[in-house]
């Protein structure tokens, strides 16, 4: 009798999960397995026949494709810049708005506008800003008398990637701002009062009260930043196309170029799997670090 009701209860619990599971099994699992399957074949995406090549794609990507790893490094570079500058900026802005500054509600809306913009507009704007001959940035530099720094920002090997990173950060900080602001607003004001009564100055309040309580939020923002930055694609296509040379190639541009440009569908799938594993590892590390910090 007990066993039967237990079974009924478990069955009832599964029902909650059923719709999600059904959709997942249909629309996620099948493509997932297809990509895994295709990664061991050589296929151009069109012919009805494929050639089985085992792990040779993986071997090639891991050991004989320096450009792939360059692209991974470029993605990581953008991610590092975003984790530091973008999220720092977002945090500072969140702090300022959190203090109940006048017009906080308006700022909240305005800072969220860049993420809403379509890739086309963002690409056009930044192309214009960075343009070598008549872009806004060079114009401003000339105005400030800094003519000798003028360059074709998106076309020079040393500045191209950073320029794209800045454009990406500009579009991305809105998300971080919102999440961090929410986290800040959740801190009970009494803690600040107590700290001030104890004689702490602004810096100490920040470091001893705010930051420790915000650590879980920081972790969430970091994971989302990593996922967002590593998957950058449309902005690269709109501004530099991966150039000059290979200087702004990122993982997704390499995958798409293999898939559509070089008609190496299986190879692209293998790249996708390796990429996914890299991201998964990065996220797992983040989560583990956060657990360790929480324990302290």
């Amino acid at each position: 009798m007990v066993a039967k009701t237990k079974l009924k209860e478990i069955f009832g619990n599964y029902l909650f999960l059923l719709p999600a599971l059904a959709m997942f099994l249909t629309f996620s699992i099948y493509p997932f397995f297809k990509v895994f399957q295709l990664s061991v074949y050589q296929w151009d995406g069109i012919m009805p026949t494929m050639k089985f090549v085992g792990f040779s794609h993986f071997k090639d990507i891991l050991f004989h494709n320096p450009i792939w790893w360059q692209s991974v490094w470029h993605g990581a570079y953008i991610t590092l810049l975003a984790l530091t500058f973008q999220n720092c900026l977002a945090f500072i802005l969140a702090l300022l708005v959190d203090r109940g500054i006048k017009g906080g509600k308006i700022y909240r809306v305005i800072f969220y506008l860049p993420p809403i913009l379509s890739g086309i507009v963002v690409g056009l704007i930044w192309n214009w800003i960075y343009n070598g001959d008549y872009g806004l940035l060079n114009y401003a530099l000339k105005y400030l008398g800094l003519e000798n720094i003028q360059k074709a920002w998106l076309a020079e090997p040393r500045t191209a990637l950073t320029s794209v990173a800045i454009a990406h950060m500009w579009q991305g900080f809105g998300w971080g701002f919102i999440i961090l602001l929410a986290g800040l607003q959740n801190i009970p004001r009494e803690l600040y009062e107590a700290a001030r009564v104890d004689g702490a100055n602004k810096w100490q309040v920040l470091t001893r009260v705010t930051v420790p309580l915000m650590i879980p939020v920081f972790v969430l923002v970091s994971i989302l930043t990593i996922l967002g930055c590593m998957q950058i694609y449309a902005l690269i296509v709109a501004t530099t196309g991966g150039g000059p040379g290979y200087h702004t190639e990122v993982p997704v541009t390499r995958i798409i170029s293999s898939m559509l440009g070089q008609s190496q569908f299986g190879y692209a799938c293998a790249m996708g799997i390796i990429f996914g594993l890299l991201l998964l590892t990065a996220s797992m590390i983040q989560i583990r670090i956060s657990r360790r910090i929480k324990q302290e």
Binding site: A152, A155, E156, G241, G245
Partner: protein
């Protein structure tokens, strides 16, 4: 802390405004839901007639006009379905190919290799018979180079049965443009643009002295670099040697190839390139030339339509890229601009072919050329095009194209080649270094494909 009910309202006025907006929102959502459900219940109608998939946004209006005319004359419905941009179009065609749901007529973007795969997979109808019928009545109206792009020769490296598999509906070629007004400003003669490389360099110096950027082109798009480089390759070493290189009989470290790469080094070092060309998309380059911010542009015949839209008063002319050597002729890329293929598995095969014959007929081609400012593929339809387009048309016979050559280069080599030239322009690599690099990749590819 649990809170039941509505969140606290701050001020009454603000609340009223939010309520109004919320109401408006709800009403529109409700309306669209109704429309949506009606749409759901009504099954999408079966398409009758012939379906054509294409990516040519600029021509959809012209196509629709032609469609109506055809329906009146022959009573057959044609559906032109537009899927843009070209990336999205390519993916759509690939997905449809996998499930045998390709339309009656469609175009194939990409290199000849891709075209060959579609043919071998059985998706493209062989049109040789129709083209050759009645002593080549249909095939004979086209510019020969336009047909060659759609033709596979006996013994081709792709293993495709020789024949003609596509119908060109327009042609194009890529040349240099020059701005006559800026020429005058720099003291150059607008009626005799430079025809040799040295004249070009000298003209460039005059332009630089007048503070005018010299050459602009969308070399962020690597195929355009390929175009410029291969034009000069043909000029410097001749077609035979270029083909031999692709076959692998001549290395890329040959001095002639190094001369080709050095061209870019010269252009860059002498400041003849507009700022940022290596990452510039062609559309930006077109903007720059149209707004008279560069004296020369390297672009295709479609630019006539683009420039007209952006600056109707632009005074410019077309010229061949200034030649370096007199030994071999200067070749330019050209051939079919866009082509349509017939689905081999289509149930409306004959009707589709009939329609394509009509579409490439003299009158329709004249109409398309006039309304979209593209060169017609029918060589008898050049009557009503503006003079600048006529300049492009004149050079159709000296065109070449990778798709016409009997051999095709490996995609990885092409990428190394073009991206490497970008690095030469930025000064990161020397021509010799690039040559060695390309040859290494080439040798590796040849080893693996054996």
């Amino acid at each position: 802390m649990a809170r039941r009910g509505h969140p606290k309202d701050s001020r009454g006025e603000e609340n009223k405004m939010t309520k109004k907006v919320a109401w408006l929102f709800c009403v529109s959502v409700f309306l669209s839901c109704i429309i949506g459900f009606i749409g759901c219940v009504k099954k999408p109608e079966k398409i009758t007639g012939i379906t054509v998939w294409h990516w040519m946004t600029d021509r959809q209006d012209a196509f629709n006009v032609l469609r109506e005319i055809y329906e009146k004359e022959k009573g057959i419905k044609i559906n032109f379905e537009l899927y843009a941009p070209s990336d999205a179009y390519t993916q759509k065609v690939m997905a449809a190919a996998q499930t045998d749901t390709l339309p009656d007529i469609f175009g194939i973007l990409g290199e000849k290799r891709v075209f060959a795969s579609f043919i071998k997979a059985g998706h493209v109808a062989d049109l040789t018979e129709e083209m050759d019928a009645e002593n080549g009545k249909w095939g004979g109206v086209f510019f020969s180079k336009a047909l060659d792009v759609n033709r596979f020769l006996l013994g081709n490296q792709f293993g495709v049965e020789p024949g003609i598999y596509g119908v060109p509906i327009d042609v194009m070629n890529i040349q240099m443009l020059y701005n006559k007004a800026l020429f005058r400003k720099a003291g150059l003669n607008p009626d005799s643009p430079p025809s040799t490389w040295n004249e070009f360099i000298r003209a460039g110096e005059r332009l630089k002295a007048a503070n005018i950027p010299v050459l602009v082109s969308g070399w962020g798009e690597i195929w355009l670099i390929d175009c410029f480089a291969s034009n000069y390759a043909f000029n410097i070493m001749g077609e035979e040697k270029v083909i031999a290189t692709i076959r692998g009989d001549v290395p890329y470290t040959d001095p002639d190839w190094i001369r080709v790469f050095t061209i870019f080094k010269e252009l860059s070092e002498m400041g003849m390139l507009a700022q940022g060309v290596v990452t510039m998309v062609n559309k930006t380059a077109e903007q720059i030339f149209a707004n008279e911010r560069a004296a020369f542009a390297f672009n295709g015949s479609w630019c006539v339509n683009v420039y007209r839209g952006m600056n109707p008063g632009l005074e410019y002319g077309a010229m061949l890229p200034p030649k370096i050597s007199d030994e071999h002729p200067m070749a330019i890329w050209g051939g079919a601009g866009s082509s349509f293929m017939v689905n081999a598995k289509s149930k409306n095969r004959e009707k589709a072919i009939e329609f394509l014959k009509w579409l490439t007929d003299k009158e329709q081609q004249v109409f398309l050329a006039k309304s979209t400012l593209n060169l017609p593929s029918n060589k008898y339809s050049l009557t009503e095009i503006p003079p600048i387009l006529a300049q492009f048309a004149d050079d159709m016979e000296r065109t070449t194209h990778p798709s016409i050559l009997p051999v095709a280069e490996f995609p990885r080599v092409i990428e190394t080649f073009n991206k490497g030239i970008q690095s030469i322009i930025t000064g990161e690599k020397t021509p010799e270094q690039l040559a060695k690099e390309i040859q290494k990749v080439k040798e590796r590819e040849m080893r693996e494909r054996k």
